[in-house]
Subunit: 239 residues, 2 copies
DNA sequence: CGAGTCCTTGAATGTAATCAAAGGTCGTGG
DNA sequence: CCACGACCTTTGATTACATTCAAGGACTCG
């Protein structure tokens, strides 16, 4: 038996049908039972340790991924090492589409991550005669594009304080889709990641958190923040 | 006979088949002759005067557009009037897809613009059983997303000088797709548009152009610039 | 308990923004 | 044809916000 990248690939506990609580949110969420069974046979379930890369910019892109568990950071680097995080991927997100034959950005696990991995060849053959699947991919791409455009507005035209507030609000709302609504917003990524997402330095992010706390808008707790005044907070984020 | 938004809608000189030099680049570029004929019957050809809006953010989005002639600016506004241009659309570009039932940004003509306009209902019925068309839309969305991600890197992590240089290089390359390669890069948009695209002020853009000219990298000419030292210039843009 | 990592705070610096004004260009009408 | 006005761009002086440089504090894990 050949060695597999992840030995549990065929283990029952990793089959989407039994395991995948995020399936309704995922790319495969609207497949019929039969289609889904076929789709599953194309999937490799892969687990990544914290900080482990899923793929890297400029690598030949042979696979696409559906994120099942955990959170990934997606980023681009300049030659001198400056980094821009272009997004955080949550369970249900679909990764790896690129306008060229190589990945246009890098992705790595923040905590532990589990993905469904699909090789592009079989994946493309599967979708090419399934209009509803193609339409779902269009929805996903359009939603991501909308997020990217919001982020351009944030990066180009908002102050540090507005950036941090808008980030916390949109992160809280995205988490709500997978975890449900909570008072406390958990932040699995570090300050440096937030800084690289918002186009700031780590010091400015830290100072801004402190400032928002002094202004009684949030309380900083381990691994996150609690929002004290959602009304005033949303207003600052929308500003 | 009912009044039409554009009286020449059915005029021969505006039919895509005879008029559309950019068709190979456009969303409809790979339709068979029969399909294209059907597609054309759904299209309204519309002309816009300089500065005229194609559509506005938050408006109910009933149409999508294929840009045939001219250049459009796409932008988002903050409540206080700060503006971020999220892109410039060229002939062949496809506009108006949104993650919600309303447009997520505004678009208006820079010079004179001509579009193919499609109402969403008929458009969606046309594409829903045409996998190759859906795949083409995916390509378009993926390409746009890639551009948006490049722009995030630019907005978040590049200096004013790098922003301007990178903008000129990518604009030159995009123009080459529709106009062919030239020494002079024409800039149909004004300095304020460039500033709002790069997340700068008009003064900083102006100063940076002047600086690049002093450094003998470009010459500023009416409605554009000439690149003097493409090698050094590309290096600065990539930096 | 100590090493390492991450986060916070302080002081000085620098890049781009803001405020202000002059210079160009274009189109219109005298 | 020139003069005027509107609009856009350039340049200069000052300010402000975020960065950089530096150091101390907190938490985790072996």
């Amino acid at each position: 038996m050949p060695h597999l990248a992840f030995p549990n690939t065929n283990c029952e506990e990793f089959r989407c049908s039994t395991h995948c609580s995020v399936r309704p949110l995922a790319i495969c969420g609207e497949l019929s039972p039969e289609e889904h069974q076929e789709f599953e046979r194309l999937a490799q379930h892969v687990r990544y340790a914290p900080k482990e890369p899923l793929f890297s910019e400029d690598e030949v892109s042979d696979s696409v991924f559906s994120l099942i568990e955990g959170i990934a950071r997606l980023y681009k680097l300049l030659p001198d090492g400056r980094r821009q995080i272009i997004g955080f991927a949550l369970p249900g997100d679909f990764l790896g589409m690129a306008p060229t034959p190589r990945y246009s950005f890098s992705a790595d696990a923040i905590g532990t991550v589990v993905t469904c991995r699909f090789f592009k060849g079989p994946f493309n053959r599967f979708i090419e005669n399934k209009p509803h699947m193609l339409m779902r991919m269009n929805e996903f791409a359009t939603r991501e594009l909308g997020q990217a455009q919001d982020q351009m507005l944030l990066l180009g035209r908002r102050s540090a304080e507005e950036k941090v507030a808008a980030f916390l609000v949109s992160w809280r709302d995205r988490l709500a889709r997978v975890e449900g609504v909570t008072k406390t917003v958990t932040l699995p990524m570090g300050r440096q990641d937030i800084a690289d997402f918002l186009g700031l330095t780590i010091e400015t992010v830290s100072r801004t958190f402190t400032k928002l706390e002094r202004e009684k808008l949030i309380v900083i707790v381990p691994d996150g923040v609690r929002v004290l005044d959602p009304k005033r907070f949303d207003a600052l984020a929308a500003a």
